[in-house]
């Protein structure tokens, strides 16, 4: 993109450094373009022990993969070594973690957190998920303008990468977006039709694989339900510190009872209403008639208002 003459591209914005990426022309779009990546030291609200060796990347290209980031830093920006990359909005797991032990502190289902910086440092050990459904894409896409966090092997590498980035930005040295050839063995699966074909293949997994996943999930689910029921049962029996017993769902009443009671209540109300018929007393008839007349007037007023509104909207009635 050729910037306008009087405006220059900002070398940095807020805490971010602008890193231009040179993208080679494509077969269907014969133009060399420049993409702008904004990089800064990661500074989350709740820092973790990994925070010092992380960089925050903004506006990554939609088809970025971990190997792209690794390649850029390793080959173009002073050879800083990236350990892993966590993308914004990456899919969280869809499995279930079976309760490992009854004494576990967190009750209920616990999801594997995304591999973001905050997730790692808290020291909670992610339980292994079971019953995950198979992946259907061999290469994920990211929304346009989204972010990622690159974790370097150590703090020195992260600092080196930041320094190199600044240098590149200052010197207007555009970094080339790595092509498949550049990535060699770590090249991600290709885009375009092959990717859609692969997706088509992946979304129709073999029955055996699916069966296994479902069985695993259901087994874990059953175990979890049993565990929860057990916990609830215990809660019902044990008074807490103040001597109160917590009322919990479940117990003797099945889940279907709730709706049933409501239906019965309605029925009762209806019967009550029907006991005295609507036209038993004369005042009832009189009142009904009055109501009807009032309704007519109201309807008329409403219609008139509607016509007024029509007129306001369309102007006068004008035959074509």
């Amino acid at each position: 993109m050729v910037p306008m003459a009087e405006q220059r591209i900002a070398k940095s914005v807020k805490a971010f450094v602008t890193l231009p990426l040179q993208v080679p022309p494509q077969q269907s779009f014969q133009k060399e373009t420049t993409h702008y990546l904004y990089i800064c030291q990661n500074a989350p609200k709740v820092p973790t022990q990994d925070t010092p060796r992380e960089l925050f990347l903004v506006n990554i290209p939609i088809d970025t993969t971990e190997s792209h980031i690794k390649s850029i830093f390793a080959n173009r920006l002073g050879g800083a070594r990236v350990e892993s990359v966590a993308f914004e909005g990456a899919r969280t797991g869809k499995g279930i973690t079976a309760p490992v032990a009854p004494v576990q502190k967190q009750q209920g289902r616990k999801r594997k957190r995304a591999q973001t910086g905050e997730g790692e440092g808290e020291g909670t050990v992610a339980d292994e998920e079971v019953g995950l459904l198979p992946e259907t894409w061999d290469r994920e896409l990211h929304g346009s303008g989204s972010t990622a966090i690159a974790t370097f092997v150590d703090r020195a590498n992260a600092e080196l990468a930041m320094k190199e980035t600044r240098k590149a930005a200052k010197g207007d040295r555009a970094v080339r977006w790595p092509s498949e050839a550049d990535l060699k063995t770590t090249a991600p699966p290709s885009l375009g039709i092959p990717r859609y074909l692969a997706h088509h293949r992946l979304r129709h997994p073999s029955h055996a694989e699916l069966q296994q996943s479902v069985d695993g999930y259901m087994a874990a689910f059953a175990a979890q339900e049993a565990h929860r029921a057990q916990l609830l049962a215990r809660q019902r029996q044990e008074p807490d510190a103040d001597g109160f017993i917590t009322v919990t769902r479940g117990g003797r009443n099945g889940p279907a009872r709730e709706e049933e009671t409501r239906a019965r209540e309605e029925e009762l109300k209806r019967r009550e209403r029907n006991r005295v018929k609507d036209d038993f007393y004369r005042f009832q008839t009189r009142e009904r008639k009055k109501e009807e007349a009032k309704d007519l007037v109201r309807e008329f007023e409403e219609d008139r208002r509607k016509v007024e509104e029509l007129r306001r909207r369309r102007g006068k009635v004008r035959p074509e």
Partner: protein, 1159 residues
Amino acid sequence: MAPPASKRRKTTHLDSGQESDGASFASFGGSDDAADEVETDGEEQELVSDDGMDSGLGNLSEEQSEDGDDGEEDAVPDNDKSGLEAQHSKQMQQKKADRPHSRSNASTIDAGSSAYTAGTFKSNIFKLQVDELLEQIRPRQGQREKQAEETLHVLKKCIEQLPARGALPVDQAERKLLSSKIAIPFPDPRPPRDARYKLEYAKPPSINVVGSHVLKTSSRKRDALEVDMLVQMPSQILQEKDFMNYRYFYKRAYYLACLAEGLKTSKVTSQYRVQYELLHGDQLKPVISVSPKSDEQNKDAKPARRWKIFIVPAVAPDAFPADKLLPGRNCVRSQSEDAQDPTPFYNASLRADMLLAPYLKLLHGAATSCAAYRDACLLGSMWLRQRDLDSSITKGGFGNFEWGALIALMLQGGGAGGKPILSPGYSSYQLLKAALQMLATRDLSKHALVIGDDSKSAALTLVSHPAIWDATRSHNVLYKVSAWSWQILRQEAVSTLSMLGDQLFDGFNTAFITNSSGPLYRYDHIAEIVLPAKANKGDLLKMLYDVLRRGLGDRVRLVNLIWSPTPAWSLGSSVPSSQATSSVKVGMVVNPDTVNRTVDLGPPAQEKAEAASFRKFWGELAELRRFKDGSILESIVWDTRGGASILQQIVQALLLRHFGEVSANTLKFAGDEYVNMLRHRDNKEPFQALQEAYKQLESDIRSLDDLPLTIRQIMPADAQLRNASLTPPALPKQSPEPANITLQFEGSARWPDDLVAIQRTKIAFLLKIGESLSDANDSITSRIGLENEQADTLNQAFLDVIYDSGVAFRLRIHHDREQTLLERQLKDKSVDPKSKELAAVGLAMFKRDYVRTPAHTQAVARLCNKYPALSGAMRLTKKWFASHLLANHFAEEVVELMTLRTFTQPWPYQTPSSATVGFLRTLRWLSKWDWRSDPLIVDLSGSCELKQQDARGIQTRFEAWRKLDPAMNRVCLFVASNVDPEGSTYTDGKPAKVVAGRATALAKAACDEAESKGFDLEPTALFSSPLEDFDIVLHLNPQTVGGAQGRKQKPVFKNLELATLDDTSTIGFEPAASFVEELERTYGHAVLFFHGSKERSVVTGLWSPQTAPRSWKVNLAYSSIAMEGKGGEDVQAVANKQAMLSEMARLGGELVKTIQVNR
């Protein structure tokens, strides 16, 4: 005639008509004053318009002394002269000043009372709108009226000063007039040169203004004000036998020519435009038309300036005996034939000239006795105008006059025992409805409506012609209505009546506001036929109609002949020959059930006479065939393989047989082009094949006995299963698109009570069903596919069931506990907003996929059986949306409902009988749909299951949406039906306002095109829109767009193991669709994408206004460039469009051929 005074007083407060009369009376008086100053002629008041109609009529009755009581009170202003006149007009002006007050007062009384007078109007809203319309169209004294009246004075003065001319033989008379460059407009055939009678001119005994202008029953919204000026020919110039052999018409033509010459010598022709014209297209009756000169600066004059005065020569009502002119009599003798055919048209045309004044009196009587009469006439004139019906023969022969006469006559008699059908106390709406009822329910061409003593009406039965026989005046009011016009008129009346009967639908707009005359919307097929040049055009048309009607039989419901009227011509030339315009358009409305029948059966061979007639009619096409049931019949078998439709073949054959080669070869036939653009045309066979396969699948699944739960129901939920998909299903050599179906098990307590677990359980069920199906039936391949990867509470999997025959189904399990769980989640306050949002999405999806769509599918499939043209119309409409790249914005169901509206609420037309008109009318409606303030509500039951209360509920919901979301960011189109009262099921979020606006604009453009081109409309023109409208255009590789082409690509991707995949594995593989979906997900905030599924292999986009430069921030949802701000401003973020395009190119790979950047 005139009612007792008390009656009159009673009616005045009901209607403001009386006041307006007074008011315009006053203004008439005003103009009169002005005229009086110029003219000192004492006989001025003979001109009716001077004193308004009352005095004019008084005048009439004075002369004829037939009607005493009317004359008595009305004659007053005539007899006293200018002194009193001035006083009178002052009084009137006083009244005029009072008028606004009294008017508004009257209308409030009127409106207030209507709340309680239910029944006299359809509904309050209808009544209020009618009142407003009447206010708009009631005639008033304006600029053009003033001008026209001034001219009337001039003309009258001029005519009165003309000297009498002595009797002359025909050719002398003609020569004499020719010397002053005036031609005598003799009707065809012209009089013989050696005729023994002589032509003569004498001063007219009276000159009157007649017609709707005087009665104030013509709407002021017409293009031109038309005033009929009656010049009565004196009786002494006529002879007793003049009604025979055109003699009256020759004399009339001469009289007219003399008037023309008089106008010319008195220089009137230099001030105005004076021409000959045919009165109502009746070849026998030329008139002089006087209109303002259209000089250069006046070319685009306002309609207010346009007016036209017709000078109509006529005779006294007693000029000829009425008995001689009965419809059964022959009045045109020819020497050769002995048997004299009756000449009803000729007779009635002559009779009409005698009856101009009596009818004026009749109508005026009705107007005074019935308060609502004028309003009914105004409404009627509006109704007729919107249907392009007119008194002129080319436009049906039923116009304002006939309408007024019909109501006036029905006020006098026609009921059982000669009692009036209507009572003068009826409201204008009731009068209108009664008149329509008369036209709709009674076939007047078989049983004439006779009003008055019916001793003479026996003559009517001789000619099968629509008739309203006015026995008092011995005249058929419908004499100009031809057999085909009668059909049209009747049909219009029928559809208007059923429309007014519909409680859900406010018929006001379609009855009076929308113009429904466009032939493209009215007729399924239009043929343009050049008829051989022949003397009598009327006979030729009759013959054409009869031939087509007989030949097409029950294939068509309606045949109408349309031809252009003879234009006005100059005074110096004779009547333009009608042969110049011998091209006739034939509009046909087909019967969709029988139009494509391949065999026409004739009479059996034994019935000699009938068989001979059949052979004579069809010529060589008729064949004697023996049929399976043993009968031997004359028959015709039509060819179905050729390109031309059967209808076209028949018309062609009939023309060749009866009108010669020229007509047959020049035939232009339109109406099939649209359907031909569809794959497999509007054939239903592929859909039926799929339906059968579906039934097979249902029985296959139900016969599985090893399922853990019993099946409650299996429902279709796909456009292919309701005959509505653009591409017909299961074409050979094309991989099928799986048709969605849902399966519901009987309730069980063993389902888990957790959304995620339910989804997994569903997978387990699907695995089981797939396995069992494949085991039970060798021809079935089944496969599980995953979906909704991003959220595990949504449906996770479906089962594709593929038969070896090439049909595929996609099965999902419907479990109603999901809805309860989702609703509970929505209500739960402890749930985080993100999950709540997801639950809302899930609930909407659940309702759409498992509740609404199956119900919709069933309803539409049923309607497809009811309306044969529906399937084609829906597919054409979808094609239109796809061609304009709107397919990814409008859900299929929305498009279907739009088309269905055309079928279930067809007004002002009948239910479309071909896909083409169904499509075109849908487009027209779409171009007019104000979706901002009107919901679309369709009753899919076909039997009025949608009650008024439900409709009101839907309306309330619509209003709630508009209040909640006035900017229409979420729900823009509100589309509800009786199976989907929610209205936002298919339109939540999509289409956006800008897209809906574009659809409306495109439809408008298409309709404009259709209206301007008319018959010559190029069908493909409706289906193309320029790609330049978009900012970016991604041209896709055409081979990759359809799923079918995946197979052709196989060798290219051998390395990807595709070769090992068999055919069934590519089912459902649509890379282009996936690509567009991903583009929308990735760039949804920056670009609005348009895609037409398989119809056009392009994806286009518009940059969203959100991508305009703004201050930089981290969470921009698009790729950006950081620009230094000017003068120390914040750093600006500019959309990096080039980089995004490059990304799109990378993402698409070989899928994208080129990217075109327009802006």
